[in-house]
C-alpha cells in the first residue's frame, strides 16, 4: 500500500501564497495515494512556468524539462516502458503556446498518459503577460490596449482532434477534480484535463470567485461519446462547463507500435540478438 506521505518532499515551495497550484498539488498527491500508485511506478514530467515547477514539490521520478516540450518527453517514456504511469503536467503557455504543435500531435499519437494543464489565463513566471487562453480585451503590461488575439480553446481543439479523453476541472472543487483525475488515470489512452487554477498575483479577473460563478457541471445524463455534441459544449462561452466532455477510446500509441505485442518487457530489459545482427549484415553479401 502507498502511504499518505510517500509523495511528500521536504523542500521549500516557491509559489505565491494562495496560488491555485497548492490545491492542485494536494489533490494530485491524494489521488495518487488513493489510487495506490507507488511513486516508483510513476513519472511526473513537467515543462516550464509556475506549473512546471510542480515536479520539484512532489517526490518520485520526475523530469523538469524545457518550455513546451514535456509532452514529447512523456510520450517517449511511455513508449519505452509502458508499465510506467506517466503524468505530464504544465501550464497553458507551455502547452498551448510554446508546445502547441506537440499538443496537437500527442493527441494524434494517443499514448496512455494523463496530461494536466494548469490554465490560469496568464503568464505567471514571467510576471503577467497574456497567455494563449487570456480573454479578449484583457490588459497587461505588454498587451497595453487589451488582448486582441482570439483565445485558444483547448477543449474544442482537443475534441476536434478526436482526443481520446477530454475534461475540464477547477482546483477550487477538490472532490470533483479528484473524480475526474481518477477517471483520467483509469482511461486507456491520452487524457487531457484542462485545470482552471487561479493566479492570485497576475490575474485579477479569473479569481477563485470568478470560476465559482462562471462555471457549471455537465449534466448527469450528458453522454461524452458524441463528438459533435461535445464540440458544441466546448464552444459555450457564457458559463463554462466542467466535467468530462468527450471520450473516444481507441488503440493507444504503445499498442500501435507493435513491439510490446508479444513481449511486454520495457526496452531497458531487452538485449540485442547478435545472431539477428549477423544475419542482417550477411544479407548485404
Amino acid at each position: 500500500m502507498v502511504d499518505t506521505t510517500d509523495y511528500d518532499r521536504d523542500v521549500e515551495i516557491h509559489w505565491c501564497p494562495g496560488c491555485g497550484n497548492y490545491p492542485a498539488l494536494k489533490l494530485l498527491k491524494e489521488t495518487l495515494v488513493e489510487e495506490d500508485i507507488a511513486p516508483k511506478n510513476a513519472v511526473i514530467v513537467t515543462g516550464i512556468g509556475q506549473a512546471g515547477k510542480f515536479s520539484h514539490f512532489i517526490d518520485g521520478n520526475m523530469i523538469n524539462g524545457l518550455h513546451g516540450r514535456y509532452l514529447s518527453n512523456a510520450l517517449a517514456i511511455k513508449a519505452s516502458n509502458p508499465k510506467l504511469q506517466v503524468f505530464a503536467i504544465s501550464g497553458d503557455g507551455c502547452t498551448f503556446s510554446e508546445g502547441g504543435n506537440h499538443f496537437l500531435h500527442t493527441i494524434r499519437y494517443n499514448p496512455s498518459i494523463v496530461n494536466i494543464v494548469h490554465n490560469n489565463a496568464v503568464y505567471g513566471l514571467t510576471k503577467g503577460q497574456a497567455s494563449p487562453t487570456s480573454e479578449l480585451g484583457v490588459k497587461t503590461g505588454v498587451q497595453t490596449l487589451g488582448v486582441y488575439n482570439t483565445p485558444f480553446n483547448p477543449i474544442a481543439v482537443a475534441i476536434a482532434q478526436n482526443a481520446s479523453f477530454v475534461a475540464r476541472a477547477f482546483v477550487g472543487h477538490v472532490e470533483q477534480t479528484k473524480e475526474v483525475l481518477k477517471k483520467a488515470i483509469a482511461h486507456h489512452g491520452y487524457a487531457l484535463i484542462d485545470l482552471f487554477s487561479p493566479c492570485v498575483s497576475f490575474n485579477r479577473i479569473n479569481t477563485y470567485q470568478w470560476y465559482r460563478e462562471n462555471t457549471y457541471y455537465l449534466e448527469d445524463d450528458y453522454s461524452p461519446f458524441d463528438q459533435k455534441e461535445a464540440i458544441g459544449r466546448a464552444l459555450e462561452r457564457g458559463k463554462l462547463p466542467l466535467g468530462i466532455f468527450y471520450i473516444n477510446e481507441r488503440p493507444t500509441y504503445e499498442e500501435n507500435i507493435q513491439i510490446y505485442k508479444n513481449d511486454s518487457r520495457p526496452l531497458w530489459q531487452r538485449e540485442l540478438s547478435k545472431e539477428k545482427l549477423t544475419s542482417l549484415i550477411n544479407s548485404f553479401r
Binding site: M62, G65, L267
Partner: protein, 576 residues
C-alpha cells in the same frame, strides 16, 4: 599530371529522376560484385521526384576501389540533356553507349566514341519499353563481364511479386543486352579498356552504402528507439531502422518536428532506451535547445547529422561538410559533447555502434557527422567485424537513497532509470543540486559545471587517434576529416607514387581532440587541410584545440564532393 586508371573502368548512368537509373545501378553493381569484381558507386541527384538530370558513377576494378573519379569511360545517357550534364567529365576516350538520337547532334558528344544502341526498341520487341533498363543492364554487364546468372537471380527476387511473365521478360531483356554487348565487343568500336580478373572472395563480400553502415552500426549499438523528421540526406537511416523495427524491437517515430524528435529521444533515454536521432543541418538547428537540455541533465543522446549544403534550404540533395561548427557550438551554455566523423564505411559502422556506449557511459551527447556524399556512396568490403562489438550498458540498479547528480571523482554520476531499483530518478533542466532540486547557489552552480567538464577531459583522454597514412617524416602533411577519406587518401597515394614526400592524416573523431596529436604535425614543413566547406572549419578547430597552424586550405563548396583528379591537381600545386 594525369592519373592512369590502369585497373578500373568508370561508368556513368545519366538521366531524369523516375527513369530507373537507380534500378540499373543496383542490378549492375550487385551482379558485378557477386561476379568477384570490386565495385564503387555514388549518386548525384536533384531535389525533385521526376525529371531534371541525375547521374550515378560506378567504378569497377580488379583491385579495391573506394574513391570518386571524374573520368568517364562509358556513359549511358537516358535523356537528351545527359551528355551536356557531364560534359566536363568526357574525353576522346569516353564512350557513349545509347540511343544515338539522344546525342549524335550534341556538340559535347562529338569528341567521344559514339555507339548506337536503342535499348527502348529492343525492349519494345520484348513487349514494352519498361524493359529498356534491363536491356541496358545486360549491355553493361556483358561489356564488363558480370555473370548473367547473378542478374537473373536478382531480377527474379525483384520482380517475383509481379508475376512470372514480368520476370521472364526482364530476363529476356537482359539476355538481349548481353547479345548486344557481344556485338559491340566484336565490332571493335570500344576503346581499349582494362581487362578484369575476378576473385571469388570478393563475390561474398559485403556491398553497402554509408546509410546502411550508420543504420547497422546503430542496431549493433543497441539502438531501440529512433526519432526523426524526414530530411535529405538523413531520412534513409530512419527508414532502414523502420524496416527492421519488428525484427530488432525498435520504436520508430517519424515525429511532428525535429524539436519533438530530440525531446522524445531524451525521454526514451531517461526511461532506459538507447535512442538515435537522425537529421540534417536544418533539422539539427531546431534541436539545439534539446541538445542543451541533454547537456545540463547529463542525459545520453546519439545524433546522426547528415550534412548538406546550407544555409537554410541550401542544396537539399548535394553534399558539404559545412555543419562542423554548428555541431560543435550548438546549444546554449557550456557542456561537453563528442563529435565523430567517419571516413570509411567500416568506421561509420563502428563509430555509430560506439556512440551508444560512449553516450551511455559518459552521459553526454554524441554526434555522428556524415554528409550526402557519404550516405549515398556504396562499395564492397570484407566485413564489419560486428562480433568484436559489444552493447555496453551503464545503468545501475538504484537504492532508496539514490541521488542522480552525485559528485564523483571523474564527474560521472551513476545513472539510474525509473523502474530499476528503489531510487527515484529526478532530472532537472535548471541548475540543480546533487539530488536534482532547483538551486541558485553559486558554489553548487560552479561545482556542477566543473563536474560536467571533468567528463570532457576523460573524453579527450580516450579520444580516437587520427589515422596516419604514409611516412611520418614526410615534408608535407595533408589533413582531412570525415567523408573525404578515400578521395584524399587515393590522391595522396598518387602523389607518393610520383615521388612526392607526402603523408596523410585523417580525423574520424573531430571533438574533443587531445593535445597529443601535435606529434603528427611536428615533422611536416607544410600542412594542408582539405575540406568540403567554404571556411575551413576543421582547420580553425585544430588551431583552437591543439594550436596547430595550417599553411594552406583546399576547400570546395559547390555542393559536389572532391574528385580524385581534382585533388591530385590541387594538391600537386601545393607540393611542388
Amino acid at each position: 599530371m594525369t592519373i592512369e586508371f590502369k585497373d578500373s573502368i568508370s561508368i556513368v548512368l545519366c538521366g531524369a529522376a523516375g527513369q530507373g537509373i537507380a534500378t540499373v545501378e543496383t542490378l549492375l553493381t550487385s551482379a558485378l560484385k557477386k561476379s568477384g569484381l570490386h565495385v564503387f558507386s555514388t549518386q548525384e541527384f536533384m531535389s525533385r521526384v521526376r525529371g531534371g538530370t541525375n547521374s550515378t558513377t560506378i567504378r569497377v576494378s580488379t583491385n579495391r576501389v573506394q574513391s570518386f573519379c571524374e573520368r568517364i569511360d562509358i556513359l549511358v545517357p537516358f535523356t537528351r540533356e545527359a551528355v551536356s550534364h557531364v560534359k566536363a567529365r568526357l574525353s576522346s576516350n569516353s564512350c557513349i553507349i545509347g540511343d544515338k538520337k539522344l546525342f549524335q547532334d550534341n556538340v559535347d558528344a562529338q569528341s567521344c566514341i559514339m555507339i548506337d544502341v536503342n535499348y527502348e526498341s529492343v525492349a519494345e520487341e520484348i513487349g514494352h519499353r519498361v524493359y529498356s533498363n534491363s536491356v541496358a543492364v545486360g549491355v553493361l554487364a556483358g561489356i564488363l563481364g558480370a555473370e548473367r546468372e547473378y542478374i537473373t537471380g536478382l531480377l527474379t527476387d525483384r520482380f517475383q511479386s509481379k508475376g512470372e511473365k514480368i520476370v521472364s521478360n526482364n530476363i529476356d531483356a537482359v539476355t538481349r543486352g548481353y547479345k548486344l554487348a557481344d556485338e559491340i565487343k566484336a565490332s571493335d568500336q570500344l576503346p581499349s579498356l582494362p581487362s578484369f580478373s575476378t576473385q571469388p572472395s570478393v563475390g561474398s563480400e559485403l556491398f553497402l552504402s554509408g546509410r546502411d553502415a550508420v543504420a547497422i552500426g546503430a542496431i549493433a549499438g543497441g539502438c531501440n528507439y529512433v526519432t526523426f523528421y524526414p530530411m535529405a540526406p538523413s531520412t534513409g537511416v530512419g527508414a532502414f531502422l523502420a524496416k527492421n523495427r519488428l525484427e530488432f524491437g525498435i520504436v520508430t517515430d517519424q515525429t511532428e518536428d525535429e524539436i519533438s524528435a530530440i525531446n522524445k529521444a531524451f525521454g526514451a533515454w531517461y526511461a532506459g532506451a538507447r535512442a538515435l536521432v537522425t537529421t540534417s543541418g536544418g533539422g539539427f538547428a531546431l534541436m539545439t535547445e534539446g541538445l542543451s537540455l541533454a547537456g545540463i541533465t547529463e542525459m545520453p543522446i546519439v545524433i546522426h547529422l547528415a550534412q548538406r549544403p546550407g544555409p537554410a534550404t541550401g542544396l537539399p540533395t548535394k553534399t558539404e561538410q559545412g555543419d562542423l561548427e554548428l555541431a560543435l557550438y550548438s546549444g546554449h551554455g557550456d557542456f561537453p559533447r563528442v563529435l565523430y566523423a567517419p571516413g570509411t564505411l567500416k568506421e561509420a559502422f563502428s563509430l555509430t555502434q560506439q556512440a551508444f556506449n560512449v553516450a551511455d557511459r559518459y552521459q553526454v551527447p554524441v554526434i555522428i557527422l556524415t554528409d550526402h556524399y557519404f550516405i549515398n556512396t556504396r562499395y564492397n568490403l570484407p566485413s564489419l567485424d560486428e562480433e568484436k562489438t559489444q552493447v555496453e550498458r551503464y545503468i545501475i540498479e538504484t537504492e532508496r537513497e539514490y541521488t542522480r547528480y552525485q559528485f564523483t571523482d571523474d564527474g560521472v554520476s551513476p545513472r539510474g532509470i525509473p523502474g530499476k531499483g528503489e531510487g527515484f530518478i529526478r532530472v532537472d533542466s535548471h541548475t540543480h543540486t546533487q539530488d536534482s532540486q532547483i538551486t541558485e547557489d553559486p558554489i553548487i552552480r560552479k561545482n556542477m559545471v566543473d563536474k560536467r567538464f571533468k567528463k570532457l577531459e576523460l573524453l579527450r583522454g580516450s579520444a580516437i587517434k587520427p589515422t596516419l597514412v604514409g611516412n611520418p617524416e614526410s615534408e608535407i602533411l595533408i589533413i582531412s576529416w570525415g567523408s573525404t577519406f578515400h578521395n584524399v587518401n587515393d590522391a595522396v597515394l598518387e602523389l607518393r607514387n610520383k615521388g612526392y614526400s607526402v603523408a596523410y592524416l585523417h580525423f574520424s573523431q573531430v571533438y574533443p581532440i587531445p593535445k597529443s596529436v601535435e606529434i603528427y604535425f611536428k615533422n611536416a614543413k607544410k600542412r594542408i587541410v582539405v575540406e568540403n566547406n567554404a571556411t575551413g572549419q576543421f582547420a580553425s578547430l585544430l588551431n583552437l584545440e591543439v594550436g596547430i597552424q595550417i599553411d594552406k586550405q583546399v576547400l570546395k563548396y559547390t555542393g559536389y564532393p572532391f574528385s580524385l583528379e581534382e585533388l591530385v591537381k590541387e594538391l600537386k600545386k601545393e607540393v611542388q
